[in-house]
Each structure stands twice: as structure tokens, then as C-alpha cells.
Subunit: 902 residues, 2 copies
């Protein structure tokens, strides 16, 4: 191993922001800030390679680590002008983890290392602040005793409680420096008692003990489970930052704070943050004391505020993105402790990105890359109906936007339990901690009584895109009685409340939701110019459309869906399922007659009855998509789907017989039963469906073709420009397409002749069977377009029945890591994708200009859209609400390709 | 178009045997014989290209055809020393079809063309035989009137009958020359009456009329249907042979016959044939007169016989295969009319091939290519139990071997009707004709009262490999009363008889069958040296094994099957299905307990109960295959297959409830019903089965692995050499194999350690899902062998459920020519085969020495075996009785590859 330790401080550093993999996010950004000439307390980073080697060698450090650490400690002493372990001018340090990606609260930290009975005196002498010295000392023993020596934290807390009781005080701050001094002694004694070991006095021992503990915390169960949820590989390891301590709790001219360079909720370009005077950083993040907001600092310490404001600008200019920063003021001097890209809401993400382009900070292409597709999804989430008379009982911080309604629960476990049963719950806590993550994930929303916009609850909820109202101090949370109260109002466990994460309102009962702002504009129920958000959104989407190469169509079975999809930016229809139209109440009896027909003639008669209804269906859709292509798929599902259940009928007959029912009725039902039996299949998914129906019952496909082309002919006469494209499902052999296509073309030409019109139309096929992909060169001879049906293709490629795997083996597969994802949600690029690739290559070899798209559910899933771009499809098609997501994903795919990131 | 007409005769020819596609089989061989210096009546062949052009141009001949035909007619006259249409020395000609492959009786023929009221006198003058002249004349009018002019044949027959009645005679032969002369007049009159046209007197008109009619007969419904059954492309077309007539009905020194150069039933090297003196060829083939056997000819006409014997030798030497010849003796001169490769029984094919190698006529490799894989299959067909006291009622000719039992039926339609319902029938006819083919195909066996070894019934039955007793003149067939009788014994329609095609015996009732000779030797119930047939068979198979590269294994689930397969030449087991063992009566309750177990522990307990039983199963199989590899597949089918039917249970419960049944019983059944409901799947084929079971219930796979390795360990201790190979089914992702393989290996090592033994074993997987083939490189990392499960692979590649397609759309698909074959019987090389090819290529790239085979049902189907050879598999595996077929097919694949015929 080469260099293991990287120094920063004194306005320069050995590392930089590009070395995130080696130094972790925190270490890399500390180095970067130092290089930028910003004051960060000096320190050094032990690289992630050391962590990996530590685990590979079963807890042994690499050979030269001690030496490198010692050298860097000397440098730190030099820069900070203090000495580690010195009795007069002691340097204190912190040891913190810092992985490639943030794992908030998951790993351990030890502060104030270097304090012992000797150095504490030096600390007092240097600062003149005895109370801070002993408060720091007792905090150090408490943390170290817990994190490094494994003593239960409660043990220390109860000693503090006893002390407070003894002194007749309520708050920690009321304890005097001699009380704290006594606590130091008591803490040490309890450590000896619990561990049999003396608390280490030697600062070197303290340092190495802390380093070892932090490395070990990479592999605690909660860290492992967090990585599992967030797909972080275990072999990345963590870096460790050893850094000189600065103190925000040195008195009135000291303080500590966190801030965002813009508002992380709305994206507004204001300096947004919170701070606490005379406090340590932990106090802010933990949410125990409610902090002040940043503008007050300008009044309180105008010089410091000016520096901070300057740093804000520098960091944004340098990083070209919104930053989340931490700072400490020690006796009037500002130290920066951290900077990182700030987490933000969907709304903020879009506003920030668009405004930064206007500000000339980033390009349009960068703006596109800044938005997660899931954020677009969130913009379409519903919001509370403003017309509804809501009973607001309290107002907290609008920590993470959204509208949530659910039953109140008070523990993460309970939230998880009910949530996994499909119940909607709101998790209510005084404050949340990393142990609550699973419950937060399972809840609709989170309500906390304490903590600010940067508290654990707020940060995690925003990351999850989940509604959160934080720091709602008006409510009293009673865990014991399982209830909350605001004045006279009481809400018990299991009762409903609603949270508005955008306003911070907490409401009684279930408040109904309505469309989001974007959706209202899209539906034409609000004017675009009335919505600021829509302005940013439509600007961004206009850039997206300039960049993307993939077309985006929609899957829609009704004129209404087609119309909304078109407003969402759909450039046509990739899939209209005609069978949905067969289930209408007046149609089903006719459909059944068609299926049960004994002769071709009878079947044709029933089909003819359906014809006018189908024609109207198609007319509506073609009209809604006027001028754009509309792919209509002919009948696909097995016929028995339209018949009564075999089993129910059997039970009915059994009953009728035992109860001496009407003989004629029994006979009739038995006849129906026999027909259903004949149609019933062992594996309907692989049975008599798709084009197999069109070949065995050509009159059905011919009726559908007639409905399509007469609808289009009618529209042409009315002055519209319909572009129908007829799609044959489930083709596996070119001969299947040859036969059915011949029927469709024949009908099309007939109908056009009858109506005296001409129109552009195409006939194509789904590629949804492996054999179709493998013989795509042949099939392309008969198809003007291909549309990948990746639902069925996933079923046959994996041999998975989508209807069956969910409740059966898929959960076990995910749990045992056989599969990382449900392949019906995220396209399996290696297997199914390989068939797609083969099919496209062969398809184009068979017909150079064949149009190729996808209409499976993967067509709106970002990683799958990227795949579709990469393999050279012409378009993706997805449900109306996913159209904007698909547009964005398609643009991002182009940009990633440009960067060579495929 | 180039040359259209090819001359032969005068011991030389323009064509030869290699020109079969152009000249048809008959024409090419006539040319070849002429080239060999054999006397064939001179003539010429109009090529198949003319036929194709004729159909393409809607019945118009190519421009120069008339001229070429005329030129060749002049040549023919020269060689034969007679003139077409000459009043003194008239040449008569025949017009016959002759396609690339024989289509016996399917197309039309016209004989004696050139006769008219003038030439008939020349004919008489030249031959001095007035009766033959008029007999030929009336036959000509009869044939021409029917074939060319479309007059119903019955019209002529009834005139003959009237004439006979009038003259008070019974047979045609009793009619005098003046009777026949009158008939000629009457025939012409009736032609005029029925068609409104005069019968053509001009020989040129006659000739072109006949040529046109023969071309047209290529497209008659019966010819089209024959081609469909035998997969003969319609665009091949037929050639036409116009040839000088010779007459076997010129008196006592004339005759006609057919012969095989060896016995087509047994293969014995004897000159085997039949002839009729003073008769025309049709008389022999039609089977109306029962002919004499060839040896009598030696006595009757020793010179002619000597020539014939010489030609027999020459033809065999030249063609290097057994020939089927036709000849005519006209006034003591021998003319050869046809030679072609003789159809023969399976037994004869093997004997002939082996003996020809001994005789130095062909090589071992050619011998291998002479045997159809289906002939090997036929050798294993059962025969009648010789111990059974059978009641022989008559004996006919042993026209085609086999043992058939069935209900007597008298018409082809009835045979077809009952046969397609699965009933076993024997078709009994006076004689058969091409119209009977569908009935013959549907029957178990054919019995005719008339006709010899070369009659229609005999030839067709041998071609079909169907049992036939022909020319059984002892039986009286009464179509009207629908019965046969022999003396006092009567058998009515619907009663059973049995036919022994090897002895010619006809027996009353159902005679039980036993193993064939080859099978008896294979089963060790007859000594090899006692069976002549086995000698030939085993010699041939020894050559086969020298040539083939593919290994041949068997699919066997019991020690008995394994043992017989080994004796059939299996070199190991390619597939043992362990689930078959779960269905045993004592096991099923334990299996159900295992399935319904609520906890892992309960499940393990039930599995443990199954362990000793499974161990004994495996022990027996491994012992039977001692020293050879045995692939054992772990549990594959969905669990609900082992449970009662959901529907039946539901009906039971409904009944119990309505009838106030026992509450506890109802509750119990309802609980079971719920469990079954939970396990029931929409598409079980794509559901919770295969390795998905091994991953969700590892204890089941571990139990099976333990059973396998403890069985093998026990055998090692007993001095055996078991080679178990464990196969994981339904793998689609490498992780599935990784997990299950780890379990198996763990158990294997445990068991070996416990027993203190070491053994060679492998762990591998089925490749039966498209994804497995596509990611075979990854999967090969975890697999030491691949076995293609082409049943499942065909299901998923096509999206066809094998259980469902048969009764549903497959028949329509075959009928509409969407598919040419059932892909579950014959491997789909383009689709499924492409995945196999990809899987092999990628599999070998992942693991160079990976062992690859096939264990789907295609492993014993000849064209599929050839494919497996071509794509480089290591072995095929098939059911025991198909092992010899697979061995032969594998050798033939090597030889075809050598010839570049892939």
C-alpha cells in the first residue's frame, strides 16, 4: 500500500474533492475547502484503503500506519499551534468516520480526544473556561467509554440524572464546573467497574482506541443493514478523519451551526440555516434544543456572518451546486467543519437547477443531470384539497413536502408492522434516530416534536421523498399512554391524522387529496402562468426535449388517458390494449357469445355486434392523438378470461344438484362448464392467446381491424389526421405474422376503398417471446415496426409467472440476494436485455428502417429507459404519469453516453 | 429453358441416374439402364422443368416442346424399327409420370397410345395376334377415355360385364377377339355419348392428350394430399416418360413380372419376385391374378431367366443397393421397364446392409447410411407371444412384418374414423388402392384377399412399417354383410382378429404380444447366438459406435430402466427424475407432510423420513450404471402436484356443508384447501418449482443430496464405482446455482467425511430457460456440466405450454402451415436451436471443458440428434428404447457432416 494518510489545514491540503473514493466524502471536501483557502481545523484523513486492508487482515493495521499518523499529528500540532497531550497548551482532536457516500448517524464518532487529568488543566489555563473544560472532559469519557470501551450509554446518563437530582437542578447546563469534575471521576470509576479496565490516560492510547472503534463501526449490524437498503458495497470501507477540535461551547462568542446555500425545501436562493450559540455541533443535529435561524446571526455577529456569507458564495461557485455546510465559531473565529452537496426536495431540485442555469453557474445539460427522475414523479404526487375544511391542530416545520394521511403510531417497529400489511400510518416521535429508519420507510409521513430543518427526521425524510413535519413543539407526545395532545385535543394510537409537509400543518382525521400543482396545470385546471413551479418545470422539460434522442409515447386505453398523456409530452401511443374494452357491462355478454359460438358464422355475427362499439373506442383515442401515431394491439388475453370462473360455476352446480335445482338450469350451466373446461389451460400465459387467437379465429382480428380503419376513415372525413398502427401480439414465428398481417391489410384496403379515403398506416408486432427476438430478421420481413413487450419477455426469459412469483419465491430471492431487484420493475439487462439487443440487431438486418420501441412497464423506469437508449430503440412507451420521467431519463441517457458513462 | 426432352434406348441414353431431379426417378433409371447396355424399350423423358413451367404458365407448354418431342419420336421409331401411326408396322407408346420420389399409384398412366382402326390392323399383321390387338385397343380406349377424356371407369366396366353376360362367360379372358372388337366400337360410342366428342383417331392427338392429362394428374386432390403426408414440395413437378410399348400379353412366350434383387422382407440374398405369363404389368401390380414366383421362370424360360439373373447382378453391382425391377418378356425377348431402390422391411434393411459390406459392395459407413432410424425403432416392436394358444384361421403372404391386433373394419373411412378415436382396427379389403391410404395409416394392420408381395397393399404397408398379410385367398370377404368367413368360421365387423406379418398368419381374437427378438436378446431372455437378426443388428451397431462422436446416455428413473438402457448401449444416465420417486404410495403422505410443514423444523423432519427411501432409489440406479456417470436431477415440479386437486376438494366441502357433514372434517378440509390455494399458481410451469424450491426450502435439496452421496458411499464400500452427477433444475441466474450448489457440495463433503470415502462427482445444471442460455458464460462458472432441457426450453422460447397446445391451436397451426411440425417432437433448430448454440458457445467461454448434453425428449429424435452433433454437444440422452436410434442417428450425423451435407 502506498500513501495512507492525507493532511489538510493551514489553507492547503494533500487531498482534494476528486479523491472521494480514497478519502471519503467528508475528508475529500475538508481537503478541498482547505485548498480553497477556507479555514478548517487542521487534521488528516486515513484512507478507505486502510479500512479495507484492516478488514482483510482481520483487524491488523498496515505496517507504516502508526508512523504516518504520528508524522501527521506533528503537522497538525504545528498548524494549530498546540501539542497533543501537552500540559499547558493541549491539542484536542476528534475521530470521525467518512465513507464515499453519506451514511448519516450510522457510524461512531469520538470527540475531545487528548483530555486527561493533566491536559484538562492546560485547557483551563489556555481558555480560562473551567466549566467548558470539565464539560468537554465528561463528554469525552462518556463517548469514549461507550463507543470504544462498550459501556452502555444509559449508565452515564443515570449518573448525570443522579447528580442533577442531588443538586436539585433540572438541566445539564445548570451543573457547575465542580459538579462536572465530580462526574468525570464517577464516570472513570464506572468504566473501571463495568470493563475491569482503567480509563486510558495516555492521549496516544486514546487516539488509537478511537481509530480502531471507528473502523469497527463500519461493520455494525445497523451500518450493514443501512448499506443493504441503500445498495452500498461493503468493500468500499470508510475513511477516518482525525481533526483538531474547535469549540462552539466556549461562551457567548462561540456557537455552531448548519446551513444550506439555498432553501432545500423550495430551492429559493436564500442563505438558509440554523445555529445555536454556546453549543457543540451534536446539539444542533440531535434536535434537542430548537435552534435560531441564520438571519439572527447577522445581527448577533455581523463579521462572522459576513465571512460565512462569503464562504457560501465561494463554495457554490466552486462546487457549482447547492451545499450543505457545518461551521463552528470559537471565541469569534469561524471554522468550517464540513461541506457537501445538499439534499433537497423535488421542488427545490428543479428550481435550483433552473436558476443556476440562469445565473450562469451550470449548463442546461448539467441542470438536466441534477434532477432525479423520481423527483419528477414526486412533483406529480397529490396534495391536500384546499377546499376541504381542515382542522389544523398544530403547525411545525415544513421539513419535507407532501401530503400524508394515516393512523398514528409511536414506534418504528409498529410503523413497519402495520405498513407492511398495507396500512397507512404516520410515525410520531419526539425526535428520530438512525434506529427508526425502517419505520420511517414504512410510514406515509413523519411528525416530530423536536428538531429543526436539519434534524435527523428532516434530512432522512427529504432523502426518502417522504412527507415530514418536524419540531412541532406544540404537541405533547406521551409514549407511555400512546397518545398526543394539543391543549384539550387528544389523538390516540390508531386514530387518523394528516400532515402537510409543504406548510407544516398537522390536521385531525383524513384530509382528502387533490392533484398537485403540476398536475392541475397539465389537466388545464390551473393556468401555467399562475404556477411558479410549473414555470421551472416546463423550462427544464424544454431543455430535456432538446437533448433526448428517444421518442416518448404512452400506453393508453381511453381517450382521457391519451389526452392527459399528450399534455405530459407523449408523442403518440405505444400501446392501446383492446381487451380492456371487452369488459364493459353491455359488451361482456356479446363477447361471451363470440367466444362460445359453435360455428364461424355465429362467431362472426357476435363480432359484428361488437364492431360499432370498438369503432367508437378507437375513434376517441385516434382523435385525442390526432396527427400522432397510435399503436393498437389486437386481442391478446386467453378467452377464458372473459368467462365466469370454472370453480365458482362448479360449486354452483354442485349446490343446485344437491338442492334439487331446476334441471334445465343445471343442464345449461353444465354446458357452459364444459365449454369453459375446454378453454381452461394449465398455463394460460403460454396458451391460446395473442395471435394464436387471430389465427384460429380470424373473424375476431378482422372485426378489430375493421373497427380501427373505419374509425380512422370517419375521422379523415371530419378533417382529422389519424395515424393508426396495428400491432399483432405474441408472435413467435414469422408465419404467424404473415397470416394475421395479410388479414389486417386486406381489411384496411377494403375499408379505405369503401370510404374512398387513403391513409398512412403500419402493421407490426410485439416482440415478447424469445423466439421472436432470435428470429427477428425473418419477422422483420413482415413487420413495419417492433414493440418490445418486456412484461411477457421477462416472463418467458426467466420462466417467471408474474402473477405467481410475488407472494412465493421472489421475496426470498431478494432476501438471499439471488436477484437484486424485481425484474418486472427494473429491466434485467443481462438476460432480457440481451434478447432485446439481439432482436434489434437482427430486426434491422431484416428491415433497415424498422421502427423499434418498448411498451412493457419498463418503458417508464429510468435505468430501463437508459438501456433502451443505449441499444438504439426509437422510442419508449409508458403510462401517462410516467411520460415526464421517461423524457427526463431519455435526456439523461444521452448525457451519460456523452460522458462515456455507459 | 434449355433442353427439355432426353432420349434413351438402343443401349445408350442422354440422361443418367444422377439426373433424378430433372428426369424423375423412373426416367433417370431408364436412362441409366440403357447406358449400362440393358435392353429397355426406347423412349424419352420430358423433364420436370416442363411440368413446373406448365403450371406457372397456366397449362401452356414451353415454345419448343412440340418440336423436341417430335424429334425424339422419330429417334424412337428408328431404334424400335416401327413407326408411330403406321398402318403396317405401327409403334405404340406409353405415357407415364415419374417424379423425383415415387408416388405409387397417385398419378395417371396411358398405355397403347397409337392404336386406331388403321394401326390396329398393322398390329395384327405384325404380331399375328388379333385378340391381343383388340384387347390392347379396348384397354387403350378405356384408359384414355377415363384419364384423358374424363369418362367414369365404371361405364366401361359395365359394358364389359354386359358383354360377358351376353356371351355367358365369367372372365375377361374368355371373351373372343370379335367380342373385344365389338367392345372397341361400344367404348367409342359411349365416349361420344358422355363427352360429346369423338374418340381421337390421330396418334399425335392421342399422344398430346395423354401428356397433358399426366401433367394435370400432378395436381389432383389425392396427389396433393399424398405429397402433404409425405412432405413432398409441390413445385418439384413430375417428369413424363414416353416409351415404346412392349407386350407381355403376346401369348405363351410372353409375360411380365416384378422382382427384388434380394428378399425385401428378410433381406436374404435370393432373387425374389413374381411374374405372370401372357399378361400386362398392371395385372401383376393390381393383384387381381395371383402370380407365380420367380424360380418357376427358370424352368419355364431358362434363357430369359439367365439374362434376368445377369441383369440382377449387374444392377446391384452398379447401384450398390437392392433393386426393385420390372420386366416384360415379349415373344421370348426380355425388356427391362424399371429399376429403383427397393423398399424393404427393417429386418431386411439391416441384413442387406451388413451382407453387402461382407460382399465388398458397400463400406461400413454406407451400410450405416442405409438404415433409417425409424427402422431400428421397428426392430424393437413387440411380436406375438409364441406360448399363446392361437387359433390360426388362414395364412396369406407375409407382406410386411409386425404383430397387429384390432377390430375388423371393411372400409378405409371407417378405419380412419375409429383409428383417430384411438381404437385399434384391422383393415380388411379384397385389395387396396391409393384411395385407401388414410385408412391404412390409421389401422394397426392390413389384410387383403388378393395380390402378391408387390401388390399395392404390400408395398404401401412396408413403406409405412405397418403389418400386412396380403393375398390371403382362403378368406371370403363380404363387404355387403360386413364379415369375413373361412369355412364355417365367421368374423363380423367389430370383432377382433390378429395378424402376424412375419408369418402371414391370420388369427381369431386378440393374441397377446411379447418382446421382439432384438429385445429378448437385449433383456437377456434369449442368447445372442440364437438370433440371426441380432447378429446383423449388433454388427451394424458396432460400426455405428466406431463412427459416432456424440455420446449416448439414457433418461431412467428406475434400476430396471437403467439396466435395459445400458444393454441398449447407453453410456450413462443423462437424467434421473427424483420426483417420480415421490409418488409412491407410502411416500406421498410423507411428501405431503413435508410440503404442508409450518416450520423449517417440521419440514426437515419429514424430509428425514424420506431420506432412507431416496437413498435406496439412488443406490439401485447407481449400481445398475456402475462405472458410468449418473445425472440425478433434484426436485423439479411445483409442490401442488403432490397435493389433492383444489377443485375436487372444493366440491367435497360444498357437499359436506350442504349435507350437514362433520364440522371437524369440514374444518380440516378447509385448512388443507387454504394451503393448496396458497400453493396454487396461475401458470405453474413458470412458478415455484425447480431450483426455486431448493432456494426457498434448502432442507429438501440437502436431503436429496444426502441420499445421493450416502447411496454412493455405501456402494463404494461394497466395491462398486458409482459416479453421481447432481443436476440443479430451472436455473436462470447464476446466483441460483451458486446457492444450491454450495448446499450440495457441503452435504457431499460431509457425507464423504462421515463415511471415510472419496469419490468423483460433479454438480451441474439444466439449461432450460432462455436466460440460462443467454448468460451461460456466468452460469458455467458454477456448473461442471450443462444439460439442455429442451422440453422446457421449447415452452419458454415459443411461449407454448406443452400441456395446452395439443388440443387447442397446434392442429390449426399445422393445418395452416404456420408450423411444419410439433416443436416438442422435433427440435425447432431456428429458435430453440439458436439458444442452444448461444448457450454452448458462451458456456464453453466460461468453462472450457464443460460437459454439455441434452436430456429433453428431442434427444432420441434423429434430426434433433444430428443438430446436437452439429452444435458440438458431448452427448444426447433419451429414453431406453430410443438409445439405439440415437446411436445410429449420431453416426449418420458424422457421415453427413463428412459429405458436407449440413
Amino acid at each position: 500500500m502506498g500513501k495512507m494518510v492525507y493532511f489538510f489545514g493551514g489553507r492547503s491540503a494533500e487531498g482534494n474533492a476528486g479523491m472521494r473514493n480514497l478519502l471519503g466524502g467528508k475528508g475529500a471536501n475538508l481537503a478541498e475547502m482547505a485548498n480553497l483557502g477556507i479555514d478548517v481545523p487542521a487534521g488528516f484523513t486515513i484512507s478507505t484503503e486502510v479500512c479495507t486492508s484492516y478488514y482483510e487482515n482481520k483487524g491488523k493495521y498496515p505496517e507504516n500506519l502508526h508512523q504516518e499518523v504520528t508524522e501527521n499529528m506533528r503537522k497538525m500540532e504545528e498548524v494549530m499551534g498546540a501539542r497533543f497531550g501537552d500540559s499547558e497548551n493541549p491539542l484536542l482532536v476528534s475521530v470521525r468516520s467518512g465513507a464515499r457516500v453519506s451514511m448519516p448517524g450510522m457510524m461512531d464518532t469520538v470527540l475531545n480526544i487528548g483530555l486527561n487529568d493533566t491536559t484538562v488543566k492546560g485547557f483551563i489555563a489556555k481558555t480560562g473556561n473551567e466549566r467548558t473544560a470539565y464539560d468537554s472532559y465528561r463528554r469525552f469519557i462518556q463517548m469514549y467509554g461507550n463507543v470504544v470501551m462498550g459501556v452502555d450509554g444509559e449508565v452515564f446518563e443515570s449518573l448525570i440524572d443522579e447528580k442533577k437530582k442531588g443538586k436539585g437542578v433540572k438541566n445539564d447546563t445548570e451543573l457547575s464546573s465542580s459538579d462536572l469534575k465530580e462526574l468525570v471521576k464517577e464516570f472513570k470509576a464506572v468504566v473501571k467497574e463495568k470493563t475491569g479496565k482503567l480509563f486510558p490516560e495516555d492521549p496516544e492510547d486514546q487516539l488509537w482506541g478511537a481509530i480502531g472503534a471507528v473502523f469497527c463501526s463500519w461493520d455494525t449490524p445497523r451500518a450493514v443493514s443501512y448499506r443493504k437498503i441503500n445498495s452500498i458495497p461493503g468493500d468500499w470501507g470508510t475513511a477516518i478523519n482525525v481533526q483538531a477540535m474547535v469549540f462552539g461551547n466556549m461562551g457567548k462568542d462561540s456557537g455552531t451551526g448548519v446551513a444550506f446555500t439555498r432553501d432545500p425545501a423550495t430551492g429559493e436562493n436564500i442563505f438558509y440555516g440554523e445555529y445555536l450559540m454556546n453549543a457543540q455541533g451534536e446539539d444542533v443535529v440531535a434536535g434537542i434544543r430548537t435552534p435560531q435561524i441564520l438571519p439572527s446571526l447577522e445581527e448577533e455577529m455581523p463579521e462572522v456572518y459576513k465571512s460565512l456569507e462569503g464562504i457560501r458564495g465561494n463554495l457554490e461557485k466552486h462546487y457549482r451546486d447547492m451545499q450543505d455546510i457545518e461551521f463552528t465559531i470559537q471565541e469569534g473565529k469561524l471554522w468550517m467543519l464540513q461541506t457537501r452537496t445538499g439534499k433537497r426536495t423535488a421542488v427545490a431540485a428543479i428550481r435550483t437547477a433552473v436558476e443556476m442555469v440562469k445565473e450562469g453557474l451550470i449548463t442546461e445539460e448539467e441542470a438536466i443531470q441534477r434532477i432525479e427522475p423520481s423527483q419528477i414523479d414526486r412533483l406529480l404526487h397529490p396534495m391536500f384539497d384546499p377546499e376541504f375544511k381542515k382542522e389544523v391542530i398544530a403547525k411545525g416545520l415544513n421539513a419535507s413536502p407532501g401530503a400524508a394521511t394515516g393512523k398514528v403510531v409511536f414506534s418504528a417497529d409498529e410503523a413497519d408492522k402495520l405498513g407492511s400489511k398495507g396500512e397507512k400510518v404516520i410515525l410520531v416521535r419526539l425526535e428520530t434516530s438512525p434506529e427508526d429508519i425502517h419505520g420511517m420507510a414504512a410510514a406515509q409521513g413523519i411528525l416530530t416534536a423536536r428538531g429543526g430543518m436539519t434534524s435527523h427526521a428532516a434530512v432522512v425524510a427529504r432523502g426518502m421523498g417522504k412527507c415530514c413535519v418536524a419540531g412541532c413543539s406544540a404537541i405533547n407526545v406521551d409514549y407511555g399512554k400512546e397518545r398526543i395532545s394539543v391543549g384539550d385535543i387528544e389523538v390516540k394510537k390508531g386514530e387518523y391524522i394528516s400532515l402537510d409537509g409543504t406548510t407544516g400543518e398537522v390536521m385531525l382525521g383524513q384530509v382528502p387529496t387533490i392533484d398537485s400543482e403540476i398536475l392541475r396545470v397539465t389537466r388545464g385546471r390551473m393556468k401555467p402562468e399562475e404556477s411558479v413551479l410549473y414555470g421551472y418545470y416546463s423550462k427544464l422539460m424544454s431543455w430535456v426535449d432538446k437533448v433526448r434522442r428517444l421518442g416518448v409515447r404512452t400506453n393508453a386505453d381511453t381517450p382521457e388517458d391519451a389526452a392527459i398523456a399528450r399534455r405530459f409530452g407523449a408523442e403518440g401511443i405505444g400501446l392501446t390494449r383492446t381487451e380492456h374494452m371487452f369488459f364493459g357491462e353491455e359488451r361482456l355478454p356479446v363477447v361471451r357469445r363470440m367466444i362460445l359460438a359453435a360455428t364461424e358464422e355465429e362467431r362472426k355475427k357476435a363480432a359484428d355486434e361488437l364492431l360499432p362499439m370498438q369503432r367508437e373506442d378507437f375513434k376517441g383515442i385516434l382523435k385525442a392523438m390526432d396527427g400522432l401515431p397510435v399503436i393498437i394491439r389486437l386481442l391478446d388475453p386467453p378467452l377464458h378470461e372473459f368467462l365466469p370462473s370454472h370453480e365458482e360455476l362448479l360449486v354452483e352446480i354442485t349446490k343446485l344438484k344437491l338442492q334439487d335445482g331446476d334441471d334445465r338450469e343445471i343442464a345449461e350451466k353444465e354446458k357452459l362448464l364444459q365449454t369453459i373446461e375446454k378453454l381452461t389451460e394449465m398455463n394460460p400465459m403460454l396458451g391460446h392467446r395473442g395471435c394464436r387467437l387471430g389465427i384460429t379465429f380470424p373473424e375476431v382480428y378482422r372485426m378489430q381491424a375493421r373497427a380501427i380503419f373505419s374509425a380512422a376513415s370517419g375521422l379523415i372525413k371530419e378533417g382529422y389526421n389519424p395515424i393508426p398502427e396495428v400491432m399483432i401480439p405474441l408472435v413467435g414465428h414469422v408465419n404467424e405474422l404473415k397470416l394475421t398481417r395479410r388479414d389486417v391489410v386486406e381489411v384496411a384496403e377494403e375499408v379505405m376503398k369503401e370510404n374512398g379515403v387513403k391513409m398512412k398506416y403500419m402493421v407490426g408486432t410485439m416482440i415478447e417471446l424469445p423466439r421472436a427476438a432470435l428470429t427477428a430478421d425473418e419477422i422483420a420481413q413482415e413487420a413495419e415496426f417492433f414493440s418490445y413487450g418486456t412484461n411477457d419477455l421477462t416472463q418467458t426469459t426467466f420462466g417467471f409467472s408474474r402473477d405467481d412469483i410475488e407472494g412465493k419465491f421472489l421475496p426470498v430471492y431478494i432476501d438471499k440476494k439471488v436477484l437484486s431487484e424485481n425484474p418486472f420493475a427494473v429491466l434485467d439487462q443481462k438476460g432480457v436485455g440481451e434478447l432485446i439487443r439481439i432482436g434489434i440487431e437482427r430486426g434491422r438486418s431484416g428491415r433497415k428502417d424498422i421502427e423499434i420501441g418498448i411498451c412493457g412497464e419498463h418503458g417508464g423506469e429510468p435505468s430501463s429507459v437508459e438501456f433502451c437508449h443505449r441499444v438504439g430503440m426509437d422510442y419508449v412507451s409508458c403510462s401517462p404519469f410516467r411520460v415526464p420521467i421517461a423524457r427526463l431519463s431519455a435526456a439523461q441517457a444521452v448525457l451519460r453516453e456523452k460522458e462515456g458513462n455507459f
